[in-house]
């Protein structure tokens, strides 16, 4: 058999083995994460995997999917074993936005140490500048965290450890310091900004004004508020980290963001204007308060308070028509607000003072029925709320489904009473908690589904493994493999021999081999008939043919020798591949551990997930009880306030009727003494009904 034929057969056998081992694709491996590096790859610059994984989380973050970004960063942490300072800070920001405050706090506490390690490792000044910025952000976030949890001393400590603040972060720093030291003046404790600030920001000024109001320094407060009111404020551009930690709503376009910045600037000015008017009114400078509120924007978020103040100021400056219209408008526009209720009473009082007594009675009657209606509303709300089983199903607003805020769901009820009750931050947080529990339960359920799926994959893997082991035993691949290696060695030896002999016919193809056989046969035939016939001509012709063939073989020899050497090296490569697969196969067949570990992990996960579902349900129940208590308290409070208003309205009405009775009485005395008694009795009867 020629070398060529042997090679073809050998290649076919290798293919057969490769095919039989192709079923390993679902094999078990626990090699992930182990950096088994070859000597060659050590020379190549390693990819910055921290950066690559961090950017994968960024991909979700920039799409507004903070939850998925956090999941991604957690997965990166599990794969890379540790995160660098940048990714750690990013994780802390995401944890904050996901409401994982304790976790974020722990991350930020460790951040400083991590940063120092990195600082020591990299001496570049650029890196250290970046590091100090990250440190500042971490400290600011930590202070914010402590403040939100009421841990003022720790917040002060965190702020005190800030050594320098760039102008970019000065606003946050200033506001946080002021909050930590409220109501004391914290200005002397502030670190000076690295670069000169062009102007104080609106937030800083507003905070300063509030502190001045708190300490009764009204003149200074008025100056600060006037500055806010009269200046044009532009929104500072927030960097990536500020946006992350401030947890601002993500905007789909730059235009929306600019629009929001304008609205925020306007809101600050409105608030300053309102505070200014409030100071004037508290100082009984009603005319100034009146002129301040005259230009107050109608669409402002503070319109309700401003409207009330304006009505009150109008009364004080004797602009009764304006006051009447404003009070009327106020209680009709805000029928569920306590300011609205006060407006209603003030309006009735004004009517009875400014207009006729009969009109006053009528106004009081209208206001009384308004309060009765509110009481009825409140009772209906109370009953419906108590009967509701799932709190989130109670009076859901259609607005929520239409304009669902991205990433962060908020419960917005249709019921105005509940909307009002939700102004209480604690109650709103509790509702947020119920929403978060439902989301978590949903996620746990999807994880449970995943575990079921993983169990199926494990079963499939077990079956595959069983099949592989069975196939391995029946085929006796080791022996076949050994034979193949022997055969390869034999062929290599043969090839080497042929190459050493330099015999051109060794690499002849089938046709040439046929020709060589024919020539040999002809030589033998000529030898046999040489005595009987003159064969000189035949021999000459045969020699010519032989010569041509030898020349052809000699010509082809180098190319064919190279081809065979190449084929041998291909066989070697294939053997190397098969050896690797063989080893992998052996590893899979011999190691029960990884699959068993997977089974164990899967079973543990199922247990933990079921436990989590139970815990979530229990917590939901606890929070629901707390919400019901709070809402009940709110309803009772509103009931008491309404009852007080109703009582005070009736008292007001009684006073007016009394005045009417007195007026009638004096009139009756003037007109006819006999009619006096009858008229007085009539009025007393009416007054008595109230």
């Amino acid at each position: 058999m020629g070398i060529k034929v042997s090679f073809t057969l050998f290649a076919k056998m290798l293919l057969l083995i490769l095919f039989s081992q192709a079923t390993v694709s679902y094999g078990q491996s626990n090699q992930y994460g182990e950096s088994a590096q070859s000597d060659d790859s050590k020379l190549v610059l390693q990819t910055d995997l921290q950066d690559k994984y961090y950017r994968q989380a960024l991909y979700f973050y920039f799409q507004g999917d903070h939850q998925q970004a956090l999941v991604q960063i957690e997965q990166s942490k599990a794969k890379l074993k540790r995160l660098d300072s940048r990714a750690t800070l990013f994780a802390a920001g995401l944890q904050l936005s996901a409401g994982l405050l304790q976790q974020a706090k722990a991350t930020l506490v460790n951040f400083d140490a991590l940063l120092n390690v990195e600082k020591q490792r990299e001496n570049s000044s650029n890196k250290s500048a970046k590091a100090s910025e990250l440190r500042l952000i971490a400290l600011l976030s930590l202070s914010n965290e402590y403040l939100s949890q009421g841990e003022i001393t720790q917040a002060k400590d965190s702020l005190a450890s800030i050594e320098s603040v760039s102008s970019t972060y000065y606003q946050e720093y200033h506001v946080l310091t002021q909050l930590a030291y409220w109501p004391d003046d914290s200005r002397l404790l502030l670190v000076k900004p690295i670069s000169e600030l062009d102007d104080t920001s609106a937030y800083i000024l507003l905070n300063e004004a509030l502190r001045l109001i708190e300490t009764s320094q009204y003149d200074l407060a008025i100056n600060a508020l006037k500055t806010i009111k009269n200046n044009q404020w532009h929104q500072e551009e927030h960097g990536f980290w500020q946006t992350l930690f401030l947890n601002e709503a993500s905007f789909s376009s730059q235009r929306d963001e600019q629009q929001m910045a304008i609205l925020q600037g306007q809101a600050i000015q409105d608030y300053a204007q309102l505070l200014l008017a409030q100071i004037y009114i508290s100082q009984q400078r009603y005319d100034l308060g009146f002129s301040e509120l005259k230009t107050f924007p109608e669409q402002s978020p503070y319109a309700e308070s401003a409207l009330f103040l304006f009505a009150f100021a109008s009364q004080q400056v004797q602009q009764y028509d304006i006051a009447f219209n404003l009070l009327n408008l106020h209680y009709k526009n805000y029928p569920y607000s306590q300011l609205g209720w006060q407006s209603a009473e003030l309006m009735a009082q004004q009517v009875s003072d400014q207009q006729s007594l009969a009109q006053g009675v009528s106004a009081y009657q209208t206001v009384e029925s308004f309060f009765l209606l509110r009481q009825q509303d409140l009772d209906t709300f109370s009953m419906a709320f108590n009967q509701s089983i799932n709190l989130l199903d109670f009076s859901p607003s259609s607005q929520v489904s239409q304009h669902k805020p991205e990433g962060n769901d908020h419960y917005l009820p249709e019921s105005v009473w509940l909307q009002q009750a939700l102004y209480d931050a604690q109650l709103a947080n509790l509702y947020q908690g119920v929403i978060a529990i439902d989301e978590q339960a949903q996620q746990v359920q999807s994880l449970l589904d995943k575990t079921t799926w993983l169990a199926e994959i494990i079963t499939l893997n077990q079956a595959r493994k069983k099949n592989i082991i069975a196939a391995k035993e029946t085929r006796d691949t080791q022996n076949v493999f050994k034979q193949l290696k022997t055969e390869r060695d034999r062929l290599a030896k043969l090839l080497n021999q042929q190459l050493a002999n330099k015999q051109a016919s060794a690499f002849a193809n089938a046709e040439e081999r046929q020709w060589l056989t024919r020539i040999a046969r002809s030589h033998s035939a000529l030898t046999q008939i040489a005595d009987k016939k003159n064969t000189a001509d035949y021999k000459q012709r045969l020699a010519r043919v032989e010569g041509v063939l030898s020349w052809q073989l000699a010509q082809q020899y180098p190319q064919r020798a190279w081809q065979h050497r190449k084929q041998l090296s291909q066989v070697d490569n294939a053997i190397a591949g098969v050896t690797a697969q063989q080893q992998q196969l052996d590893k899979i067949a011999n190691s029960q551990l990884s699959l068993e570990l997977s089974i164990k992990k899967q079973q543990q996960s199922v247990k933990q997930l079921n436990l989590l579902l139970t815990q979530l349900a229990q917590l939901r129940e606890k929070i629901s009880v707390k919400i019901r208590q709070k809402v009940k308290l709110y309803i009772d409070e509103q009931g008491v306030v309404l009852a007080e208003h109703l009582l005070s309205t009736r008292q007001g009405m009684a006073k007016v009727l009394e005045r009417m009775a007195k007026a009638d009485k004096s009139l009756a005395i003037k007109l006819a003494p006999s009619a006096k008694l009858a008229a007085a009795e009539k009025v007393s009867t009416i007054a008595g009904t109230y």
């Binding site: 939100s148 509030l210 409030q278």
Partner: protein
């Protein structure tokens, strides 16, 4: 007198409504006692949340180990430079002329890539051997014309996991974008 009380109520209301953070600092001490129980509940919820995240992470790793073991794993990622010369619309990836992945981008996804994000486009299994990867990016150039950018890459899959990043890079010399393929060195 009544008006005076009323005005006090209003002052508190305005302050409370408008500047949560400031009023918070003011009322922290009083509120602390009342919120103790609420904060306990919040802490419990937080613990549960963090357990869910941890379990999610563990199950993800288990899933990847089972479905895409390192010995056969191949992952393909997409990243974009600033996207000045090419607004990415879609990508198509072939391995040995066989379609393995394709993606149509929304504006937000494209912007997320332009802001530095990396997208995991494909995660799959490949046997040990030599392969050819073809990536075709479709998008709009700076003149608003629909254009395609393609790249080919030969790679060997061994028994370690393989990660390939398809980078759409802006070339300022010729004002064109080009596809650069980077194999991550693990």
């Amino acid at each position: 007198m009544k008006l005076c009380n009323l005005f006090k109520t209003l002052t508190v209301l305005v302050l409370a409504l408008s500047f949560n953070s400031v009023s918070y600092a003011e009322s922290t001490a009083n509120a602390k006692k009342a919120t103790e129980s609420s904060s306990e509940l919040a802490q419990q919820l937080e613990q549960l949340k963090s357990q869910v995240i941890q379990l999610n992470r563990e199950l993800f790793i288990l899933e990847e180990d089972l479905l895409f073991p390192a010995s056969t794993q191949i992952a393909i990622f997409v990243s974009v430079d600033t996207g000045r010369f090419f607004a990415l619309d879609s990508v198509e990836v072939k391995i040995n002329d066989k379609d393995v992945a394709g993606f149509l981008y929304t504006k937000r996804q494209r912007q997320a890539l332009e802001q530095g994000g990396i997208q995991k486009l494909y995660l799959g299994n490949l046997k040990i051997g030599q392969y050819q990867l073809t990536a075709i990016f479709t998008g709009v150039d700076s003149d608003g014309r629909m254009v395609k950018r393609a790249a080919e890459y030969q790679f060997d899959k061994d028994d370690e996991s393989l990660m390939i990043e398809l980078k759409l890079v802006d070339n300022t010399k010729n004002y064109r974008s080009q596809v650069v393929i980077e194999e991550w060195v693990l």
